[in-house]
């Protein structure tokens, strides 16, 4: 059934001089379908919006209460803001170290991922060598592979890599480096995929002009293509930072030492001790330390994040 036929049938089905009963029934139907349903849905949608906003604010308010108030008056306001909660979370519960780990691991992984993905995406988007087709398929396969299909070998490799580095190569190793390498490897496919679409959208005359002016192909890429495609590169970077900041499974599997783990793992560990040590204010301070940076990032680059995560999926 095509749309135009339904529409015309709708048009012809209304009789030229409708009987009064029928028109009343029809107008009741219009009221329901044009006003009642859409407006009810809108009320529900705004309730959902309000709930999300309330949750985000509630976590912040809870983080400023005393441990007792967090439990006994979860929806009340703090009598006086307990900034000590953040101090305890930062020092006693190890969120300071975890935050540093998060920033370093995520920062290095995100930047290196993009630095490797951008050139690869450029040649995939631009080169006309026959190998490109196979490469595109290969990248797509790597995007589709769930982390569960590689986690066991990575778990084994972590031990082997650190053993090799300590005993044979450098006499020293830090599993956080392994995590950075794994983050880069697992984020590359998606980043290449996103950036290929971005580079393919640029006019080819751009690099041709630069090359006519005597720039080498590599130089044309770094000093002409990269600046022009900077917004897309930035959004790919932001998406990677976001995913890595929230990632937990690999942290739990690859880093045994709590002092080396990132923020989600620190929160998880603190939450696990709540039944013995009732540091509820500290728990919510930890939630704030984990959540709010991403909300700030979202406020700053929200449109770009949404676009990257949605249109990136639709391409």
């Amino acid at each position: 059934m095509t749309m135009s036929s339904t529409l015309t049938r709708e048009r012809t089905s209304s009789p030229p001089s409708p009987a009064p009963v029928r028109s009343r029934r029809r107008s009741a139907r219009i009221v329901v379908e044009d006003l009642v349903i859409p407006n009810t849905v809108r009320v529900l949608l705004w309730l959902w919006v309000a709930f999300n906003l309330a949750m985000a604010i509630w976590v912040g308010v809870q983080s400023l209460k005393t441990d007792r108030d967090v439990l006994t008056a979860p929806f009340g306001l703090p009598s006086s803001p307990q900034w000590e909660n953040f101090a305890t979370a930062w020092t006693v519960s190890g969120f300071g170290g975890a935050a540093l780990n998060s920033v370093l691991i995520v920062g290095f992984s995100g930047v290196i991922t993009i630095a490797l993905a951008a050139p690869a995406a450029y040649v995939i988007a631009r080169s006309r060598r026959p190998a490109v087709r196979a490469l595109t398929t290969y990248v797509a396969l790597c995007v589709a592979l769930p982390i569960q299909a590689i986690i066991v070998p990575l778990f084994v490799a972590k031990t082997l890599v650190s053993r090799f580095a300590v005993e044979i190569a450098f006499g020293w190793w830090d599993d956080r480096i392994t995590l950075v390498i794994v983050y880069i490897g697992t984020s590359l496919a998606f980043s290449v995929f996103l950036l290929t679409a971005a580079f393919a959208g640029l006019p080819e005359s751009l690099t041709e002009a630069a090359e006519l002016d005597g720039a080498s192909p590599a130089r044309a890429f770094w000093s002409v293509v990269v600046p022009v495609a900077w917004p897309a590169i930035k959004s790919a970077l932001v998406l990677n930072l976001l995913n890595m900041w929230n990632e937990t499974l690999l942290v739990l599997v690859l880093l045994d030492d709590p002092a080396k783990q990132t923020l989600p793992a620190a929160l998880l560990r603190l939450y696990g001790t709540m039944q013995y040590n009732a540091d509820w204010g500290g728990l919510f301070a930890g939630l704030v330390i984990l959540i709010y940076p991403m909300i700030v990032l979202y406020l700053w680059a929200g449109g770009r994040i949404m676009e990257g995560m949605t249109s990136g999926a639709l391409k």
């Binding site: 339904t6 050139p119 299909a149 390498i181 697992t186 949605t310």
Partner: protein, 318 residues
């Protein structure tokens, strides 16, 4: 938004040029240098391990330091007959199917309201927010609210609904709460994807439908739904892929200390326990590898099935 006419084909001149100039162009000469680092890293971290997973799944290896011998299909057979794994896999299916139906019912319902709503962009970006928040944080916050002495039960008590108070986190209820939490935190993302598809629908279709006397409800069924079908089926596939991997939110609800209750485990949680050894600390890497392959195969089957079921002839907009 504004112009909906035929898009000028910017790709045509490029196509024509292709035949004229067979010489090597700039980007071609960069191929090795530019692609090799990324492709090598990807191969070492993703492709090679995935093959090793397949290999391991046919061995009885427990982990480094223990002997490895061929096990044929024994790992898979053991999974098939293991009540623990069957429960975990079944939970995953329930989560993916039940959660998916709920998420997409919400998404389509909300599309009816989003159309021509003031503040639609704001609403879309706020319902998206849980997607950028760590699932661990979502699980911890919801777990706090749902605690037996927690805020939800307090709230129910204070408005006289004591009979609805529950031990929300008890083993037989916690999985339902996890699925609810997942529905809440993921719906905004899939709404954003499908709504992006709806944005592409030319507005004149709605104008004509309105002139023809179609109500908003009819417009939804005759225009929005068929024309956002492609975006929706992409969203469904993405949900299948991410739902089958559900791990973090479960761990956040039940914790990693000790063994999470069987009723709440997903296949990914079960694999995590087999990899790290769980409570008794003896990893079963062969079995863990088999679980990984099972997750991958089921995901692939679901994706293919979904693509089949959701395939429609593209609706032509004249």
């Amino acid at each position: 938004m504004s112009s909906t006419g035929p898009v000028p084909r910017t790709d045509l001149p490029v196509l024509r040029r292709r035949g004229e100039r067979p010489r090597r162009r700039g980007p071609d000469t960069l191929f090795g240098r530019f692609a090799a680092p990324a492709i090598t890293t990807m191969t070492l971290v993703v492709a090679v391990p995935s093959l090793f997973t397949v290999f391991l799944s046919f061995t009885d290896w427990r982990g480094l330091g223990s002997p490895m011998s061929a096990a044929g299909l024994r790992n898979y057979a053991a999974l098939w007959y293991s009540d623990t794994f069957r429960t975990a896999m079944l939970n995953t299916f329930v989560l993916v199917l039940g959660g998916g139906v709920a998420i997409f019912a919400i998404v389509f319902l909300m599309l009816i309201g989003l159309r021509q709503m003031r503040g639609a962009a704001f609403a879309r970006s706020v319902v998206f927010v849980p997607m950028i928040v760590s699932p661990i944080a979502i699980g911890v916050a919801l777990g706090f609210l749902l605690n037996p002495n927690g805020a939800v039960n307090d709230l129910l008590g204070s408005i006289g609904l004591e009979e609805f108070q529950r031990a929300w986190l008890a083993p037989d209820m916690v999985f339902q709460m996890i699925v609810l939490g997942l529905i809440w935190s993921m719906s905004g993302y899939y709404l954003a994807i499908v709504a992006t598809g709806v944005d592409q629908i030319p507005p004149y279709l709605y104008e004509e439908a309105q002139l023809a006397g179609a109500t908003r409800w009819q417009q939804f069924w005759m225009i929005t739904l068929p024309l956002s079908w492609e975006a929706a089926s992409v969203a469904v596939v993405l949900w299948l892929i991410s739902g089958m991997k559900t791990f973090e939110i479960v761990i956040a609800f039940v914790g990693t200390q000790g063994a999470p209750p069987l009723q709440a485990r997903t296949a990914a949680v079960q694999q995590f326990l087999a990899t790290t050894g769980g409570r008794d600390g003896t990893p079963q890497l062969g079995a863990a590898a088999a679980i990984g392959i099972a997750i991958f195969v089921f995901t692939a089957v679901f994706v293919v099935l979904a693509r089949r079921l959701l395939r429609r002839d593209a609706v032509e907009v004249a």
